[in-house]
């Protein structure tokens, strides 16, 4: 039996939906809010902003992070900026334009109503963050500076040097810290969430494992909020932090939450190419670099000259040539695919011939090195540290890498999954970016969800529960889940296999990248579908985890995560196989225009593919949420 998905999109014109909805949702009166306990899992932008905002309203919040401090969450690594439709530049931006750009950039695979709301609250986010003291870049007059960012023709991106994510996260972390001090938030650090507890169809709590003592225990609440990020580490090599994982979301999926659009993955065009077999992660270079850097490869594949010695005539500025209007600023998916195309043609640069040049020579000649240093200094320094090459003297080498995952837990307009009482925020949900996310929109969405959406919508679920105590943790539903987590975790130590967790993670990553990466085709995907289960079986029989379950044990933390990636990868590939079209980050080689651009099939695939768990031995069932476009006209994206 499959679930029915009701997106609960409010009626009315798009510009009025959110206002109408805010008026129609049930309220919990201020004095009663303290009688509700909300469990927030994850303390990145979405989780920290939600925890702080809910506690400010008076709810009792318990926050969980596997980090030693909430400030470590991977939102911290976002470099470039955050979009908001402020129109401070007087260049024609508006809520409607940001909405339109985001739906178009997402290749018409997102929900109009959600995106419009995102665009509306983008205004409040900048106000909120500025009031918190986020040190945004300023003009000499003291007002906020902006820049244009990958794929946008207006300057609507706010930034704090190349550390925008860090500063926004610290703002949210500090807001949460003030609530911890005030007693509104109880923080559980170094705590892994390994299961979601569902009773009578509703989310009633979670099961955690203390990463220092190994203690497995239950936590009960009136609602559970997952803000646990994306699944990019299914590729092993990605720009995600080493510990980013899909576990909490995947465990929620196994408890009945539908997982939507898992095949949508964003491959970021400007990362440092891999250098060796032991590479543990890939490092992103903000795409703001594309504003001034020019991307090229030598026209001739056996051109052995140093970059600076290659004259303009022998340089192939492939984005500028193919897309004169947008040039180096085409959206991420287009930039990435074109880099892959030239590297596949043998035009790649660097020792492994696995990159393209991103060249600052022209802008240094035009504006001087000091201007470039002021704008991008920390990024270029990071590049030099990693590669040992000086980007002020020779062009950087870049190549696409997995960066962000647009798919995630299915949520309705209230950000609630199809399991009542279970919410998903930020990258963890699927809702706003369709098949491709525009630059500087991840920070916007994480903070929109946490500061300005969930605090309004969660009352609708909680209000009727007034007076009901949370399900006690000695309830059989909790006891069973605790036992299951404990058995699963301890079970790994008994395998006494021969290969490490990392070994299997790397092998999984190779399969997923090869067959379900930047370009996909039926043959490859089918191959992945036979290789992944075989690898998973071998992993489960032969993985080697040493040490104990009762102390700090990093291999044991990781093995549960890789186990979940092994299942998730299969669903991702099945989703990619079923979607017989190309859209955004999902490029099926069978479906492309004569010019090699993504070719959508709106008639047959204009829907959200939500997958419903059917048990460990059964494939998930596909449930479709049709996408209706009342405001934006579907067109073939063109950036020429």
């Amino acid at each position: 039996m499959s679930v029915a998905l009701d997106a609960r999109i409010p009626d009315g014109p798009i510009a009025e939906k959110w206002d109408n909805h805010k008026f129609s949702v049930k309220l919990v009166n201020p004095a009663n809010k303290r009688r509700f306990k909300i469990l927030v899992v994850g303390t990145g932008l979405a989780g920290a902003s939600a925890a702080a905002s809910l506690a400010e309203l008076g709810y009792k919040v318990e926050a969980f992070t596997f980090h030693d401090s909430p400030r470590r969450a991977h939102s911290i690594a976002a470099q470039g900026g955050i979009n908001a439709a402020k129109n401070y530049r007087n260049d024609g931006d508006s809520v409607y334009r940001l909405f339109y750009d985001t739906v178009k950039g997402g290749d018409y695979r997102s929900r109009e109503a959600n995106v419009y709301r995102l665009s509306q609250v983008s205004l409040n986010i900048i106000d909120q963050c500025a009031a918190q003291g986020v040190p945004f870049a300023r003009e000499y007059g003291g007002l906020l500076a902006n820049r244009s960012f990958g794929g946008a023709q207006v300057s609507r991106t706010f930034y704090a040097r190349g550390q925008t994510g860090q500063q926004l996260l610290l703002g949210a972390y500090q807001a949460m810290a003030s609530q911890i001090a005030a007693g509104g938030v109880t923080l559980h650090n170094r705590t892994d969430v390994l299961d979601i507890v569902v009773k009578d169809g509703e989310a009633v709590g979670i099961v955690t494992r203390d990463l220092l003592t190994g203690e497995v225990r239950a936590h009960s609440g009136h609602a559970v909020v997952l803000a646990t990020g994306g699944y990019g580490n299914v590729y092993y090599l990605s720009t995600n932090a080493m510990n980013c994982n899909v576990t909490a979301a995947w465990r929620a999926h196994r408890r009945g939450a539908a997982f939507a659009n898992p095949c949508y993955t964003q491959i970021h065009p400007t990362c440092i190419p891999a250098s060796d077999e032991f590479q543990s992660k890939l490092t992103l270079m903000s795409e703001s670099l594309r504003n001034d850097g020019r991307i090229w490869v030598p026209r001739n594949s056996d051109d052995a000259r140093a970059a600076a010695d290659i004259g303009d005539a022998d340089r192939y500025y492939f984005l500028e040539e193919k897309y004169p209007a947008f040039g180096n600023l085409v959206p991420r998916d287009v930039a990435s695919r074109n880099a892959k195309t030239v590297v596949d043609q043998g035009l790649g640069v660097g020792p492994l011939r696995n990159g393209v040049y991103l060249d600052f020579a022209d802008v240094i000649a035009r504006d001087g090195e000091s201007v470039v240093r002021e704008k991008y200094g920390n990024l270029l320094d990071m590049y030099e540290r990693i590669t040992g090459e000086d980007p002020y003297r020779s062009p950087m080498r870049i190549y696409p890498a997995t960066h962000y995952t647009m798919g995630g837990l299915w949520v309705d307009y209230n950000l609630m999954t199809n399991v009542p009482g279970l919410y998903a925020l930020g990258e963890c949900n699927f809702s706003d970016h369709g098949a491709n996310r525009l630059g500087a929109s991840a920070l916007m969405q994480g903070l929109a969800d946490g500061y300005f959406v969930l605090p309004y919508t969660i009352g609708d679920y909680l209000a009727p529960k007034l007076g009901a105590a949370p399900v006690p943790t000695d309830d059989p539903a909790f006891a069973a889940a605790v036992a299951e987590v404990d058995d699963r975790t301890r079970g790994w130590l008994a395998k006494r296999g021969t290969k490490s967790v990392d070994h299997y993670h790397r092998e999984l990553g190779k399969i997923v990248w090869e067959y379900c990466g930047m370009a996909r085709n039926r043959t490859g995907l089918e191959k992945a579908l036979s290789e992944i289960p075989a690898l998973r079986e071998e992993f489960r029989a032969n993985v080697k985890v040493l040490g104990s379950a009762d102390t700090t044990n990093q291999s044991l933390e990781q093995v549960n995560r890789v186990d979940d990636f092994m299942e998730m990868a299969e669903l991702k590939v099945r989703d990619a196989l079923h979607r017989e079209e190309s859209c955004g980050g999902h490029f099926r080689e069978e479906h492309q225009t004569p010019e090699g651009e993504a070719l959508r099939d709106d008639e047959n695939f204009s829907y959200v593919a939500a997958w419903d768990w059917q048990g460990p031995d059964q494939p998930q069932e596909l449930v479709k949420e049709p996408l209706e476009f009342e405001n934006v006209k579907l067109t073939q994206r063109s950036y020429k």
Partner: protein
């Protein structure tokens, strides 16, 4: 350097790695002959390689804290030959690359040492005291929804830049580990410097200064102006912010007392 044909130079290192099973357990050094380490790998990737080999020999891998591996999350950090984050200036452990060492080098790897950073296991320490300092006042109270339009609070560019210089702190704890007194002045001053110079930070300025400094002092040692902290800082946070901290703390003591006497 990369040889250009895809083959890489490798190196052989003599590692002495601190191992400690738990906070109250005795510790000792493990000697490791780390051969065939690619020059282009990072310091933590070198430890990954060592750990894989230890596991092959059924020895439990070395525990070390790490996450983003791009120098921004502040999770990683070990003493490398007695220096927090090792020999390269303005570089967190994860951004340090093996090409900065020479073939045959001996490298001693220990956890950050400070009484307020107890060892959890091997190279991993507990830095929760930093969070306590932030919770005591390292924020601007602006409950969600209360903010005026962002451009209604102009911030002069040099003030915003100064605040950003301070706000770049990643909270890794290298400053404490480098300090002979295990003082946390640089960490605390970075947050105070960020918030106390901004117009938005003024209403709570004096309360913040007093609370943060006194919380800091309840965990950490005293600053005696050695300046080792800023030398070790991967973000090169300036000692100037400690001057701001000292000035604001002194002023806060006077002002807060005066305010208290008025009530």
């Amino acid at each position: 350097m990369s040889a250009g044909n895809g083959h890489q130079a490798t190196m052989r290192l003599k590692l002495r790695i601190w191992r400690q099973a738990g906070p109250d357990e005795p510790g000792s050094f493990l000697d490791v002959d780390a051969h065939d380490i690619p020059e282009d790998c990072s310091f933590l990737e070198m430890l990954d390689i060592v750990n894989e080999r230890l596991m092959d020999d059924d020895i439990e891998p070395v525990t070390f804290a790490h996450d983003c591996r791009e120098g921004i999350c502040g999770t990683c950090g070990v003493m490398i030959n007695g220096r927090p984050h090792g020999p390269e200036k303005a570089t967190a452990t994860c951004q340090l690359h093996m090409r900065k060492f020479r073939d045959g080098d001996e490298i001693v790897i220990e956890p950050f040492r400070a009484a307020s950073f107890p060892v959890i296991k091997d190279l991993m320490v507990d830095r929760r005291a930093f969070d306590r300092i932030i919770e005591s006042g390292g924020f601007i109270s602006a409950p969600t929804g209360t903010a005026p339009d962002a451009n209604e609070i102009p911030v002069p560019k040099d003030v915003a830049d100064f605040a950003m210089d301070a706000a770049a702190c990643i909270g890794c704890g290298a400053c404490v580990a480098a300090c002979p007194n295990s003082a946390a002045q640089l960490f605390t001053a970075a947050k105070l410097g960020h918030l106390n110079v901004l117009p938005q930070g003024q209403p709570e300025r004096w309360r913040r200064a007093e609370a943060m400094v006194e919380t800091m002092e309840s965990f950490f040692g005293s600053c005696t102006n050695h300046g080792e902290c800023t030398e070790a800082c991967p973000k090169e946070i300036s000692l100037d912010f400690i001057a701001v901290l000292n000035r604001d703390y002194l002023k806060a003591k006077v002002k807060n007392r005066r305010l208290a006497s008025q009530t």
